[in-house]
């Protein structure tokens, strides 16, 4: 019997093998998903909420208020979309074009640079399925998938049998963690955990590159050279290696040059691929969709049909310089995630918030539209952390509008 599987949109893994038992649109039991995924799937509620100036309103009022804000704005900011489908993201790009908006997502302050380099073919890419089937050496660098993507190791990167990895993890695979602290993932990696001091990654990379070519690896923090040489030896022997790049590494590097150097050096001696540890289920989709349209992955400004790009169009810089005069925030909570000094400027402009959950941002918004949970109550397609497209149907039905439906209504009214 073919089983009817659902996709979990709880994180960038987009696990596609989830069984769900539901009744009257309430999720009762979830099989195979991790705790994060189960919580995500059981989040749904019934009633829709529309609010303007803290007062409940009907759908039409909320939409027309949102439209008025966008119409009056000279340079609205459209931000978020990491937990929206590809279809919604494409609509948002169109809306940004139409309203001459500044468009950005969380990737501008996390993994955007890495995804951009991947899309420009600066790294050798592979899929998670390749990892399962072939990878013999995996490095988790500045990433703790055991916490952020709970099924990462069990579904792809360490424990499963794959077509060319039939003997099991103890014999067939080596997992390595490089991090500033002994994370849960590092614990699993046992002796193959390399603890670097905060900000010490670039130096560690250069020491490792030295080690790869048989030179003495030196760091200012005196990391035991013997251990770096041991690591270099493991890496040199890799037939199919993968580096999973996490936020920890990206935050610690001023630019990606060290990472380019490392991947080049690794590929001189062995065969190494790179996958970014994307958190939100469709942040990579946003990057790819915008890249296709504009050649940039984030931080763009549309103006008279043209596109401008630069750090000044990232949410952080745009708010800092107060260049935006309204904001449409979709499925994101910048008031909580950005530094207070920057986020407070959001409070000075009219904000429209579309989110399935109440957040600090939604509570301080002029217009709040409570949308369906993307991937649970509404379907579509998304792009997994490794670039693979995944389609999904809603798990349950809801009366609440999907963000895609809301954007369509806003576009029509404009």
């Amino acid at each position: 019997m073919e089983k009817n599987y659902n996709v979990c949109t709880g994180c960038g893994m987009l696990c596609d093998d989830i069984e769900v038992e539901s009744e009257k649109n309430i999720v009762n039991k979830v099989y195979t998903a991790c705790r994060v995924g189960v919580a995500h799937m059981k989040e749904g509620r019934e009633s829709a909420v529309f609010r303007v100036d803290d007062k409940p309103v009907d759908e039409a009022t909320a939409i027309s208020e949102a439209v008025a804000i966008l119409k009056n704005a000279k340079n609205p900011l459209i931000f978020g979309l990491g937990t929206s489908t590809n279809e919604t993201q494409k609509l948002a790009i169109e809306l940004a074009r139409k309203t001459s908006a500044t468009l950005d997502d969380t990737s501008s302050f996390c993994l955007g640079r890495v995804v951009e380099a991947l899309l420009q073919n600066r790294f050798k890419a592979c899929t998670l399925d390749d990892v399962r089937n072939k990878a013999d050496v995996t490095i988790f660098w500045g990433a703790d998938p055991s916490d952020s993507h709970p099924r990462h190791l069990s579904k792809y990167s360490y424990f499963p049998r794959g077509t060319e990895k039939q003997r099991g993890w103890e014999e067939d695979r080596t997992a390595i963690a490089i991090d500033v602290r002994k994370s849960h993932t590092a614990k699993i990696c046992g002796n193959n955990f390399f603890q670097v001091p905060p900000g010490g990654d670039a130096e560690f990379i250069d020491a490792l590159i030295a080690g790869l070519s048989g030179k003495l690896p030196k760091t200012s923090y005196n990391f035991p050279p013997k251990r770096i040489l041991e690591l270099a030896n493991i890496l040199k022997g890799a037939k199919f290696g993968v580096v999973f790049v996490g936020l920890g590494l990206v935050y610690s590097l001023e630019n990606l040059e060290p990472l380019f150097r490392l991947m080049d050096a690794l590929n001189e001696k062995a065969n190494f691929h790179l996958i970014p540890m994307v958190g939100h289920y469709n942040m990579r989709g946003f990057n790819e969709n915008l890249f296709e349209e504009t050649g940039y992955v984030n931080s763009v400004k549309f103006e008279d049909g043209a596109v401008k790009h630069g750090p000044e169009y990232s949410i952080v810089e745009a708010l800092k310089a107060k260049t935006v005069d309204a904001a449409l925030i979709i499925g994101s909570d910048p008031l909580s995630s950005l530094p207070r000094s920057i986020a407070k400027n959001l409070l000075e402009i009219p904000v429209i918030s579309m989110d399935p959950c109440e957040t600090l941002t939604s509570r301080s918004s002029k217009v709040y539209i409570n949308t369906a949970i993307s991937g649970v109550e509404s379907g579509g397609s998304a792009t997994r952390m490794d670039g693979v497209k995944v389609e999904f149907k809603p798990v349950v039905e809801t009366k609440r509008l999907s963000d895609e439906a809301v954007l369509k209504k806003i576009m029509e009214a404009l």
Binding site: Y5, D17, Y31, C34, R35, G37, P150, H184
Partner: protein, 154 residues
């Protein structure tokens, strides 16, 4: 959680053999193996001076009443359903190589020892566990792969 020596320290240490074992130490070993319970030592159960220890030993094993006959306990509050143990458990792999053995959902959950239900691991068919039965071996597949020590054998 505990070992035979710690249990022995709490016994009467008189080697009276009323429990049917040759010594208190042998009784402690039988306790560990879940063959006997605190109730099987008459002095411990009946004599007031052992009352406290009787309670302690009973409590120790009460904690494991939720445990299966192999002594496997899941600390549900710790487990976050990563599935590492499910995919690493050798009988799971043998019984479902293309399902859980390959990191996917079970093809037939009924045949497995460990599955994930509502984000938490669930143990079933424990007689299949390699720690069980005559040919038991000290398998630790599900212990060493767990990031949070949510599986324990008592």
């Amino acid at each position: 959680m505990t070992n035979a020596m710690e249990l022995y320290q709490m016994l009467p240490k008189t080697n009276c053999k009323k429990c049917g074992k040759t010594s208190c130490m042998a009784f402690a070993v039988a306790l560990m193996a879940h063959e006997l319970t605190a109730d099987d030592c008459p002095p411990l159960k009946e004599e007031p001076k052992y009352k406290e220890n009787y309670g302690k030993i009973s409590d120790l094993f009460k904690a494991s009443e939720g445990a299966t006959s192999t002594g496997l306990i899941v600390h549900e509050e710790l487990c976050f359903g990563c599935g590492n143990c499910v995919v690493a458990c050798p009988p799971n792999v043998a019984n479902d190589p293309y399902g859980v053995g390959s990191g996917n959902a079970p093809r037939d959950a009924k045949k497995l020892i460990l599955i994930i239900e509502d984000g938490v691991v669930k143990a079933q068919n424990v007689e299949e566990c390699r720690r069980f039965g005559k040919n038991k071996i000290l398998c630790n597949g599900c212990i060493v792969t767990c990031p949070v020590e949510a599986i324990e054998f008592v």
